[in-house]
């Protein structure tokens, strides 16, 4: 079936460097994508989203890139900090469609001192 997946289960990044977390999606009808961050022992927390009519969106220290041609989504975190250590999930939904969001399996971001 169609699913949202991630290329790497674990990513280790030096503190201060930029992090790039990737995500592939297969549902061509999806037109809304979200990134969530989950710290240990807590529920997921919304980071940033993007609609399919955009290819880039920036937030505070984060940027989401969407490549619809290859069905690829990425989250870039600038100047990675220890507090960025978490599991990051991408998720997809049809904007304005039903209320279901499909989550990917997650990538763990590990910050090296």
């Amino acid at each position: 079936g169609e699913s949202v997946g991630l290329h790497l289960p674990t990513l280790s990044v030096q503190e201060g460097d930029n992090s790039i977390i990737n995500c592939a999606y297969s549902n061509s009808a999806s037109d809304y994508f979200i990134w969530y961050k989950q710290e240990s022992g807590k529920g997921p927390q919304f980071i940033i989203d993007i609609r399919s009519n955009m290819d880039k969106r920036q937030g505070q220290r984060v940027t989401v890139l969407l490549n619809k041609t290859v069905k690829h989504l990425s989250l870039q975190i600038a100047a990675t900090q220890p507090g960025d250590s978490a599991v990051y999930f991408c998720a997809e939904n049809m904007y304005g469609g039903d209320d279901k969001i499909i989550f990917g399996k997650g990538t763990r971001l590990h910050i090296l001192p």
């Binding site: 809304y32 969001i101 989550f103």
Partner: protein, 117 residues
């Protein structure tokens, strides 16, 4: 935390027993969701609600039922718990667009860790 609480936070039960998890919100949001989270599977939607007494199934609804008799509470029931239902359960709410919130932004509760022996 968007005023979401879950109870209990931890529970250990035996196979075959009924279990009810409660999600409570204080903001009167219309949409509420139940997910389970397992290693290697991420978050999977069990059931969701779009209003009082209005619920629908998610992708892993077998073995679960829900009820929403009032806006603030969304209950998840395992009629006869099985070991495969050992998981961490998250409730979420979706305020909808407006008030600085993205249309599909969901806020999650702290989770309930359920162990079925």
């Amino acid at each position: 935390d968007a005023g979401i609480t879950q109870s209990p936070r931890h529970k250990v039960t035996e196979t075959g027993t009924p279990v009810t998890l409660r999600c409570h919100q204080t903001e009167n949001h219309r949409y509420m969701y139940w997910y389970r989270q397992d290693p290697g599977h991420g978050l999977r939607l069990i059931h969701y609600s779009y209003g009082v007494k209005d619920t629908d199934k998610g992708e892993v609804s077998d073995g679960y039922s829900v009820s929403r008799s009032k806006t603030e509470d969304f209950l998840l029931t395992l009629e006869s718990a099985t070991s495969s239902q050992t998981s961490v359960y998250f409730c979420a709410i979706r305020p909808g667009q407006g008030a600085g919130v993205e249309y599909n932004e969901q806020f999650f509760g702290p989770g309930t860790r359920l162990t079925v022996l």
